[in-house]
Symmetry: C2
Subunit: 357 residues, 2 copies
Amino acid sequence: MNDKTITIKDIALKAKVSAGTVDRVLHKRGKVAPKVEEKILRILKEMEYEPNIIARALSSKKKYKVAVLIPDESYDSYWFAPKAGIKKSLKELKQFGLEVKFYFFDPYTASSFVDKAKEVSLDNPDGIILTPIFHREVLPFFESWKKSEIPFVLFNTEISDFEPLSYIGQDSYQSGYLAGKLIHYGLSEPCTILLAHFDEETSNAAHLEKKELGFKNYFSQNNLQQYDILKAEITRPNYASFVGQMDNIFENNPNIKGVFVTTSKSFEIASYLNQKHIHDVNIIGYDLLAKNLHYLKNNTISFLINQNPKGQGFWSLKLLTDKLIFNKEVPLLKYLPLDIITKENVNYFIEEDLESA
Amino acid sequence: MNDKTITIKDIALKAKVSAGTVDRVLHKRGKVAPKVEEKILRILKEMEYEPNIIARALSSKKKYKVAVLIPDESYDSYWFAPKAGIKKSLKELKQFGLEVKFYFFDPYTASSFVDKAKEVSLDNPDGIILTPIFHREVLPFFESWKKSEIPFVLFNTEISDFEPLSYIGQDSYQSGYLAGKLIHYGLSEPCTILLAHFDEETSNAAHLEKKELGFKNYFSQNNLQQYDILKAEITRPNYASFVGQMDNIFENNPNIKGVFVTTSKSFEIASYLNQKHIHDVNIIGYDLLAKNLHYLKNNTISFLINQNPKGQGFWSLKLLTDKLIFNKEVPLLKYLPLDIITKENVNYFIEEDLESA
DNA sequence: GAAAAATGTGTGTTCGCAAACATTTATTTT
DNA sequence: AAAATAAATGTTTGCGAACACACATTTTTC
């Protein structure tokens, strides 16, 4: 076992130069004769030099500033989780000179997003993590960050126009497909299934469509034509209007036995069905919000698919720093697993373990 | 914001001693006057000194030897995953002087285990990770390790006689309970449910009983007396015998619509049912073995509960080193989430295992 | 062709801590 | 009270890399 670690000194010795010269090559600081550089590079490869990141972290006083641009959780508690994931990731990385600054915007106001994004640009960070809720508004920023070579990681919402360092999220299509399975598995007879979109920021539209497609494809690909899928766009400007819409749907479709809610708002439908004492309808929805958990625990919601927002946050920072600090290759796309949550296993997901994922 | 990090020097300065003395106090190396020690300890606390683990790792040439005592995967491919998890964990920790040595034993031969455990003891490691398959045989080792103050972490199989540093695994009772839910959710009418134990090493007995209890309790606690639960101990000395047992069960109980297999052997039953062209039976089993995945993908097995063996390995080493190297508090018990795996989300759980391979 | 600028290379210090080593101070022995 | 010993404390080195700086050599400029 010859696992003596190769150091810069060893390289310098072999190349008959000083450590400083090797260092210059390693950091591409220039000022090295081409011939020497070439030789050093060759020896570096030959000896399989791996920098000791511990020593590097200690010696380098470089601070890595990472900007995190996400909605304020006071508008939507969903955003608490990614923040928590990022903070967890940070804990283990701050010793490597990582500094994270959060920029919270109002997810319902494009200008708020733009303002904060401008702030980010002004602060000139080394890397950026964001969820690009406002598609149109974010594009110029992508362009500018690309130009100044600031890597940015997207999570939760995908945008294909510009290539980020990495995208972390879930496969929406497949999650819809999975929802199809979960609904179907619980149904005994042909019936109507309600596919409910809730009004959301338009940013989500692409996601929701993919979920819908996946869901429908589950039924068509498995030859389950006996199920009637009823699609509905539901809004909730106020309680009365919402109930009106629901009454309308359920009175005209008495045979609804399953509901798939493509957003995190399944608790609204659960609440309605509880109110009406309808108990033989299976609901599948998304996200472990407190309200959803309530109806999961009282058996109104059958399953929740976890979008793992905390994990998304964790991995966003992890991948960004893998690139930034450790100079590793990072995958362009990281899909987190589709976690199936039900009353009987939900507890293990509330206190979550991220790293093993 | 004065977040200048406090170093040993700062402490030394304030205590009017030298860094060496502070170091001695920190490492309990003795040779410090009681009064001075007290004072330093006070100041340490006052200034909230946190050692810089980076500098520590760089400076200290201490090697942490960890012994991993697990079955050889050639006997049971299940054990590939924990090994992979440990290796993944190791990757990030070897820079801190961590060295892992594996000791593989034959899970069907107690003496093989004892031999390897002796080897472990002889090598005098700083910490031990093991799955205590042979209950009776492992106890003397626990005693000796306790005496020599070598922390050991158990995973996969719990033993309550001695307190380990930590136990990592799954809540068997709750996983049985979850299986009950998954079976029940997929059934439309009263029927018979087969609860199948496969012969395994006796070490698993306690686990299997807990799963059985959880499963049964799901039905009793939810007032589902209309389901008849038929328990069977199945052996597989050879194929003919196995088929005989199965024929016997299914011919005498034509109304079996669900099967819960408490071990990783659900593929055996799936294979049988495939052979017999019985397609209306839901199977729930454990573990993502290749054979199980095959029947999951062809819709014979409905759900697999993932015991997350890779995660168990990962966390075993993580917690052990948290204690050993970073001197952190570690939980005595860590339950990993109960992952519900079905054909439609299985891919996200397999890829991970490839990553580290 | 001499001064100035650019390029190439080596040296020394720093990061915070661990641990060996060196020195001072206190205590015991005779 | 001097010598011997033990206890307490101080000093130094080095872990591996980053980087500032010094110096030497070459190239450019007018």
